[in-house]
């Protein structure tokens, strides 16, 4: 156990997995001497050298494609995309090759690899350092997607991803990299992919969120507590597969649901959660599930904060489902 930020938890987890299994390698832009622009690969280069900590040329297609080629051979690569916004030059490798290789080869070849990417807004990065392309990955059969919101979960989910036999996209809320420190269990601490975490117990309203927006969601939850309203707060942690059981059970029990995600609204992941809730437990709903999301615009610079779902926007939605 040691107290760490999310960025530190990621670096120490990579270190312990590389120490445990020599097949684990890291590849990406500036992951070497630089230790990654967010220091998520800090010190790994000195410890494991250029063969296992590979500074790639400036090409996301090369990074993701090379990771796939290593994985089918038996290496366990952890690829870093410097910002989630820059996954798109490598998107074809991810959706056409990585996601489909097991299927199209009839199981002859598989891609047990990890693609890590600092994601989301709130760092004044404008629209090419702030995006949250989770829906693109969730919509792509063959990929798993996780999105932790705490240092401990970042460690546990990254470890699970590295040990998983399928390709896992690990999205990391960059605005929380250094926001909080907490106890991070070491050794074999694994968080199972697909399991949500209950962050607050309550039965007045269900708040479902993940990643960076958990911060604002919990702020809103605290505000509700003060008003004597008891929210049930779920941190999804995994988006593909996502914890349908936990969400449906809570939705059926409470009947009022607010879904919070910073991704653009239209055809975003929360549309899937909303549709699933209605298909499965509509009769238990006391109000329509409402979405509080990022807007259907490119991510702005000057309105870096206003773009994100704020505690106020969440509270307004809660009020609507409570008074529906």
């Amino acid at each position: 156990m040691s107290v760490q930020t999310m960025a530190q938890a990621i670096a120490t987890t990579l270190d312990s997995e590389m120490a445990r299994d020599e097949r684990v390698v890291v590849i990406g832009e500036d992951v070497g001497k630089r230790g990654g622009v967010f220091l998520a690969t800090d010190k790994l280069f000195d410890k494991y050298g250029p063969d296992r900590v590979i500074d790639s040329p400036l090409s996301e297609a090369a990074i993701i494609g090379a990771a796939l080629g290593m994985a089918v051979y038996g290496i366990r690569p952890v690829a870093e995309i410097q910002f989630a916004d820059y996954v798109f030059p490598g998107f074809d490798q991810l959706v056409s090759q990585v996601a489909k290789v097991r299927y199209r080869s009839g199981g002859a070849f598989a891609a047990p690899l990890v693609v890590r990417m600092p994601s989301g807004g709130g760092v004044r990065g404008g629209h090419h350092h702030s995006q949250n392309p989770d829906a693109h990955f969730v919509h792509t059969a063959g990929l798993k997607v996780v999105y932790p919101s705490t240092p401990a979960d970042s460690a546990g989910l990254l470890r699970a991803a590295i040990r998983d036999d399928d390709p896992v996209v690990v999205m990391e809320p960059k605005r929380l990299y250094r926001a909080v420190k907490e106890e991070v269990p070491e050794g074999d601490h694994v968080v199972a992919i697909g399991e949500a975490a209950v962050r607050r117990e309550g039965d007045d309203v269900v708040l479902v969120s993940y990643g960076g927006s958990m911060a604002e969601t919990l702020k809103a939850a605290d505000a509700l507590q003060e008003q004597g309203i008891r929210p049930h707060v779920l941190d999804l942690r995994s988006l593909q597969p996502w914890d349908e059981d936990a969400v449906l059970a809570a939705a059926a029990r409470v009947g009022r649901v607010v879904l919070v995600s910073e991704s653009p609204r239209t055809a975003g992941f929360m549309a899937e959660v909303s549709a699933t809730i209605v298909e499965e437990v509509m009769d238990s709903l006391l109000a329509p599930p409402l979405r509080v999301t990022g807007f259907d615009t490119p991510y702005p610079y000057a309105q870096d904060r206003e773009y994100l779902p704020s505690p106020n926007r969440i509270l307004r939605a809660v009020e609507r489902v409570l008074t529906y």
Partner: protein, 365 residues
């Protein structure tokens, strides 16, 4: 820095040739191959040619939905196949590599099963015809998106380097593929990291209907190796011995850790781009006829006959034997029966997730 080949000069203006039009040896060194090996090259090319003809017939008979003609590419493909250590080195092929795969040892039933999309397809009939692969032979399953296999091929080569084994990757593609961003990204990574890989372009002068002049501004593909600090070889891809020796040198150089190479094989496809193509729209018939006159099998047969290694009898017998093997594979592939519907839901993940179990039930009850 450019690494020099052992026996051949990179970046020549004219394609490297070892056999003249009349079948005479014009190589700069002593030919040192066993008669069996020399005959083997021919048999492998002949099999490729026969498969090509037979599959087109199958397609017209409605027994497969699609074929990608490979006639004209056999010499380059067979030369490459013999440059590899079977089951040890890895191959990242593309859809037109029929003779390459069978010469490398892919059982006919596997190739034909994939083309017919029956239960006999080891890959469970997941992809359209001409997308084979083999775990046993280290042949990465072909994917349709052009050049998307190039970065993965480099990744496998980097993994080999890491594992310190003496394996090599051969990655093939067409001339059009070299225009894709993924091609550049992959080859550049190999050059920067000195990966043990050989890139091989089967340049047939067309990407479907787009001729080479519209594909790129360079005179040929080999010169593009300059961009990546590796040697580039321009080879007559209708000369099986030139194809074999240049490929072998490049593969062995990669094996020794000297680094990657790029080889361009100048070839031509006699048939349309695919069974769905109508090449009369963009290729003059005279051009096709002119290339057919340089047929790689005919030229190499002349070479063998000059050395009394081949004659009409041998030809007849070979065609008969190969034809029977091929027919047998087709019969067995057909007899295997259609791929079951439930196969659709397997292999998306290591285990079938709950969501897919529900969807399977939705379809099959």
């Amino acid at each position: 820095m450019i690494l020099q080949g052992q026996a051949f000069e990179p970046f020549t203006q004219e394609p490297i040739r070892l056999i003249g039009d009349g079948g005479e040896w014009v190589g700069p060194f002593e030919l040192d191959l066993e008669p069996e090996k020399l005959r083997g090259f021919y048999l492998d090319m002949l099999l490729g040619r026969l498969i090509d003809e037979r599959m087109s017939r199958l397609q017209r008979q409605g027994k497969t939905s699609f074929v990608a003609p490979s006639a004209g590419h056999e010499a380059a493909q067979v030369g490459m196949a013999h440059a590899l250590r079977r089951g040890h080195d890895w191959l990242y092929p593309y859809y037109r590599d029929v003779a390459l795969l069978t010469a490398l040892g892919m059982p006919l039933i596997e190739f034909v099963g994939q083309v017919m999309g029956t239960r006999a397809d080891p890959a469970k009939a997941r992809q359209m015809p001409y997308h084979p692969g083999s775990r046993e032979l280290n042949v990465f399953t072909v994917a349709s998106p052009i050049a998307s296999h190039v970065p993965p091929a480099v990744g496998t080569a980097l993994a080999m380097k890491l594992s310190g084994r003496s394996e090599v990757v051969l990655c093939t593609f067409g001339d059009g593929a070299t225009s894709e961003g993924d091609w550049h990204a992959g080859v550049n990574l190999a050059g920067a990291q000195g990966a043990p890989i050989v890139f091989a372009c089967e340049n047939n002068g067309y990407a479907i209907s787009v001729d080479f002049k519209k594909q790129t501004g360079s005179d040929n593909i080999a010169v593009k190796a300059q961009s990546y600090g590796m040697p580039g070889y321009l080879v007559d891809g209708m000369d099986v011995l030139a194809s074999y020796f240049v490929a072998r040198d490049a593969v062995e150089r990669a094996r020794e850790g000297v680094g990657p190479s790029l080889i361009e094989f100048v070839v031509y496809r006699y048939g349309g781009h695919s069974s769905a193509d109508d090449d009369a729209r963009y290729r003059p018939r005279e051009e096709v006829e002119a290339w057919r006159r340089r047929d790689p099998l005919a030229r190499y047969r002349r070479f063998l006959e000059r050395r009394d290694l081949w004659d009409d009898a041998a030809e007849e017998q070979a065609r008969a034997e190969l034809g029977t093997q091929l027919q047998d594979a087709i019969t067995r592939a057909e007899a295997a029966g259609p791929a079951p519907v439930e196969w659709m839901f397997d292999d998306v993940y290591a285990e079938v997730p709950a969501r897919l179990v529900r969807q399977r039930r939705e379809l099959l009850g």
